[in-house]
Amino acid sequence: MSDALLKTRALQSGYGKTIICHDVTLDLAPGEITCIIGPNGAGKSTLLKTIAGVVRPVSGSVTVAGREIAGLPAAQVARSGMAYVPQEANVFRQLTTHENLTMGSWGDKTRTQEACDRIYEMFPDLARLRQTRAGNLSGGQRQMVAFGMALMLAPKVLLLDEPSAGLSPLMVGQMFDIVQRVNGEGVAILMVEQNAIQGLRIADHGIVMAAGRVALQDQASNLLASKEVSELYLGSRS
């Protein structure tokens, strides 16, 4: 897969002297969804943070559309056509919905108006809540603001860290619908998900991480069908 949009090669990262991610090599093709699953502490979130530039890699490479971004600070990675939505604290709570969205186009302020219109069309609920402070929104609405902000500059790649975390079961389903809709507009998505089965169902590819390494990589449908994977990683959770 040499035409992959996002590539990591032998990526290692961690905090201080502790290495969390070892030798991670993965590819994300244009327009695809790849879902990373694995037990707690497997290094899934750290991997996303490293790709986004929040955690500095120790070694290895990350390229977006052929451009090397490993080691760049997050503020510069933000201009590479890739947007990252963290799991927690992913909106500016003191800013209104609309102000949050505008912060998403900091890298190219001339596109703010057109981008806001596009996001409000995508999430009509947000148009109604544009003057509400993000801190006063419900969990699901806040997640939409976080998505909308990340999509302002029409990224080619979206990194999602546990988009369903902390949402009610009803909202979890809606969240996955939204992920699929965003993907339907041609955005490639690399996401970490605790809801492994639901995550894999909407994904094209799946990656199983364990102890900071890629344990398995396959078509999402194959992972779902695999007896070994369901026993070890999917458990009885559905």
């Binding site: 997050a74 102000e99 912060m103 900091w106």
Partner: protein, 283 residues
Amino acid sequence: MIFNALVNAALIAPPAMAFSLLFGILKFPNFAIGGYITVGAFAAYTFNVPLGLPLPLAAAAAMLVTALVVWLMHVLVFQPMEEHSAITLLVVSIALTLIIENVIRLFFSADVRGFEIPLERPWKLLGARITPEQVQIIIWSLVIGVALHCLLAYTWIGRAMRAVADNPMLAAIRGVNATRITAFTTAICGALFGLTGVFAGLDLVIEPLVGWNLTIPIFAAAILGGIGSPYGAIVGALLVGLAEEATILFLPSTYKIGVGFVIIAVLLLLRPQGLFGTAEIRK
């Protein structure tokens, strides 16, 4: 009395807003503001008296100088120490105030000075004595409040200032260069401290302790309004101004300086998040 309370409030509102803004971005209470205000007062004095500039020009120059000093202090003193705890930085900022104050004392001596302005007879209004300077302080303070609001609410950089204060990590993820925003914030706040120095020189006197004497009321106003909330700081300033003047009715005016302490103590006991601050709930 109401008028004097307004003058007090107008004097401490802009620096209280600046103090709140700085706290929002840097996450520690910066007590060097006393030193910064003194720098503003003496810079304005230097431009006004020895150099003979008219006061409005001298004030503008003093704002520039103070903005530069505050930014430099941030880069030279606080930025290299940003890994340290808020308490450490607070102590450092108190030390910085003492250093600034004494450097000024070294060059200017501890003499009490005043600006070169035409003496005007105070106006009498409903039994209150009102000086033109006091009216100017109130007007300028209002202008500053409105301007700061417009900056924060309607401009890109103001929005980014609030975003960085709210969630610096997310701001970086969205491409905001926090160093630049922080530099801008320190400079804006510096200009406000400089202006406060000018006001203090007009309403009080110019001496090395002028900033230090204002520090406690400013701090009280900022936490009264909910620290980190510039709008709350305005209301906080009004309340502190009123409380200070009300004290004079019952106690000798020497106790006025203690009012800030009492407000701080009571507030920290009853409502640590301030009147308008929101309690942080972390999961």
